[in-house]
């Protein structure tokens, strides 16, 4: 699973997909996750980072990160390559 490499993300949480011309907004945590996906971090690494940084628990993070990734897939922003 990789995020499409032409996806542009601005500091203000504005996401642009040149392939389709579509734009999106993300909140800061969403932007962080996209950034980590661009750095080819795994879901486990992303979840660990969230747990370190935020006041939450492993179940919530697992559920929310998976949900977020499924939305990225829904918007065709990531490609499944395995």
């Amino acid at each position: 699973m990789t995020i499409k490499n032409d996806i542009a993300i601005s500091d203000s949480g504005f996401v642009f997909a040149p392939g389709t011309g579509e734009s999106f907004t993300v909140n800061p945590i969403g932007a962080e996750i996209i950034q980590m996906l661009k750095e080819e971090k795994s879901v486990e690494q992303i979840s660990e980072r969230m747990l370190e940084k935020y006041n939450t628990d492993a179940t919530t993070v697992e559920k929310d990160v998976n949900d977020f990734i499924s939305m990225l897939r829904h918007f065709s922003l990531i490609e499944m390559n395995d």
Binding site: V26, N27, G30, N55
Partner: protein, 452 residues
Amino acid sequence: MEKQRYERPLIQKLENNMPNKFGTRTESAPMTHIDDVAVKDLMDKYGSPLFVISEKTIRTNIRKARKAFETRYPKVQFAWSYKTNYLDAVCRTFHQEGSWAEVVSGFEFDKALNNKVDGSKIIFNGPDKTEDDIKKAISNNALIHIDHLDELYSIQEIAGEMKKKARVAIRVNMDTGIYPMWDRFGFNYENGQAWDALNKIMRSEVMVLEGLHTHIGTFMLSPNAYAVAAGKLADLAIGVKDKYQHEIRYIDMGGGFASKNSLKGTYLPGSDMNPSIDEFAEAIASTLINSNFPPDKLPLLILETGRALIDDAAHLLGTVISNKRLSDGRRTTIIDVGVNILFTSFWYDHKITPAQPFTQYTENTVVYGPLCMNIDVIRDNINLPLLNKDDHIVIQSVGAYNMTQWMQFITLRPPIVMIDPEGEVHVIREKENLDRLLEFENVPEHLKDFTL
């Protein structure tokens, strides 16, 4: 390093027509306190869900309403509509503020007597008054508002047997230009039914015609409809005076003023759109004053206002159980408040405000209750801040009809607390428990034992 507050990650597609001008308005601040009492403390102590009533708001509302009418009309009397919210603590707050009682059943009548309301200050409305109810009303000198001819004949007979005069009024229905017309209750003005009933009462030896009543509908948005109705009742009263030299003591305009809630399907919030109590007061008072009553013979004006006095005095606190997605990607949030305790979610788009801080990010969400039923939808589309599991929410303006029309279903009904003007919290209805509910049930002997 201290950990930061968590918010679930969010991505939303920007549509060409975004941002939408309507329907995207959301709360800018959490509702952390009600009358200076912390929502979190209330939920820690009394659990979730929890109804919270503000005594201060009730008193402010009734005082404002009285002022709106009393500054425009010389003789005004409010009567608290029991069915809107008949918790004793609520009724007694209204009675302390001078309101009489308006009831529609023997049960409500007994509740008003139990609240120490003098029988002569109880207005008895509704189509279903049993013989016992009528006897009780007559012996307590209550004001009986007759709904149909069968009732009129029963009163005639019972009062005759009791050798005691019944104090009566008739409920009148009429065309006020409002659709649908509420013509199933009372006697019609336009087709002469009302006059027919008035003639029967005036010829009766055992009934005294005290007043005329109407209730033209509920959640009315048109002050003018009240002006039309007041004009027609004034006409009847003056007609009775001309024909029988009998003075009608009061005109009762019923309830029905819209509260500040938003009806389902309307774009702009009710707080911006709905007429104020002053507009209704102006319409009614000016019509009566400009009618043909001699200035010193104006009848008492009675109002049975319900929802407009209590809706915004109560909130329902709840908790997020889970966030999910529907198969089409739509966000859903399940809360522990179901339609069985929030009946008004069928009519209103209730405002839902988080009880803890949130960011500016929002998501269109369907809010479901916890019942295992498809109809259990609290909001079918609301732009909500990002709530986490276990977060608290405040559903606003739930004071009317919910605490009387609620159902015990699947779970036990929650407690109700009232915050007094000094900030003291009182449990005014306890949380239901299994033992009390089982007191109503009996198991036949042959069903007591079984083996599985």
